[in-house]
Symmetry: C2
Subunit: 208 residues, 2 copies
């Protein structure tokens, strides 16, 4: 939240806030496993094995398997929200801020594809309370993007008939990157970010 991390943000060590070292290793192993096979198809034995520990060790640091998913999901959503807030609140025109928001949001989904997959697609595996908390975070994410688009409409930079629908479509486009993006594919995260920023500016009628 208040960290001065400015290294570009890829996902070098994004789990520094998870404090006992073994707990962090378990959490990173869970991210990998959930992203590869999905939450329900992942066993606690698999997670512990990837972290180089016995199955029982998991339960010293986490109460249940679901708590792991919950923690991953919350940290991931907070990171996503931080990225969008940074872009939304910088100086510049609405056009510049929207392009920045989309390209950095897409870069995060492409580069941190494993985390993003878990965060975006395993929401339904959470219990009601945890899910409600995550949904609240998502509403904040939506509000950031909608804010930029509303600004652009107000200044006349954008021509958007349906602000809410367009916001939804922009976010949807970015999020789905986590589904199809592969590091083996022909594009780098930066390239996809630039392409998508251009496409989104066309969608809102900027630079017309």
């Amino acid at each position: 939240m208040a960290t001065a991390e400015e290294t570009g943000g890829a996902e070098a060590q994004p789990w520094a806030e998870v404090t006992p070292d073994a707990a962090r290793r378990l959490l990173m192993a869970a991210v990998e496993a959930f992203a590869e096979r999905g939450y329900h198809a992942t066993t606690t034995r698999d997670i512990a094995g990837r972290a180089g520990m016995s199955p029982a060790a998991l339960y010293i640091h986490y109460k249940t398997k679901e708590e792991l998913l919950h923690r991953i999901s919350r940290i991931g959503h907070e990171k996503a929200l931080e990225i969008l807030r940074t872009a939304a609140r910088r100086e510049g025109t609405a056009t510049e801020r929207l392009a920045d928001a989309v390209s950095s949001f897409v870069r995060w989904h492409a580069g941190g594809r494993t985390v993003a997959r878990v965060v975006q697609y395993e929401l339904d595996s959470l219990g009601p309370d945890a899910r409600a908390e995550i949904i609240a975070l998502r509403r904040k994410v939506d509000a950031e993007v909608r804010g930029i688009i509303e600004d652009g409409v107000a200044t006349g930079e954008f021509a958007v008939p349906d602000v809410r629908g367009t916001t939804l479509a922009v976010l949807s486009l970015c999020i789905d990157v986590a589904r199809w993006f592969s590091l083996d594919g022909p594009r780098t995260p930066d390239e996809v970010g630039a392409l998508y920023a251009d496409l989104v500016l066309r969608m809102v009628g900027a630079g017309k």
Copy 2:
């Protein structure tokens, strides 16, 4: 394939081709269950129960639980491909055909949200052979949309710097509808289809 079904296509009885009546009921039950909870979290007892049968009955009509997913996935992809082909091969300008393709493809993802979810998000749960077959179908889907965009570029209707990337984005946008769309939400499938067709035309620089 050669059926003369012209009823509008929503998804009134889309499983008519699944021949023993009990097999169709099981398949429809599986679609519901997979869409709600995901493939791995769904039990064969749950599927059989929804179809009003005992767990053992499933194995009279299907060899494994995975065969059910495979069948659903293939039929769903064939239907999606048929929708796009119909739009791509009708008469009209590239602009009209692209708008038609996007709006009908989106309508299918929104209206048949349960099927679309299974089809689009449970691909990784298939074995290698079945997955390869489905991926081949997806390439055909991609080719249809790319064809329309290439036509538009050739006639000068569209201004698209990166045809492959834009094709990917258009399909991605449509497919992700299955993730977020809800019949309880404020929009009907028709409305989302119209909104998205407009956004996509902006993305390709049509009507500029």
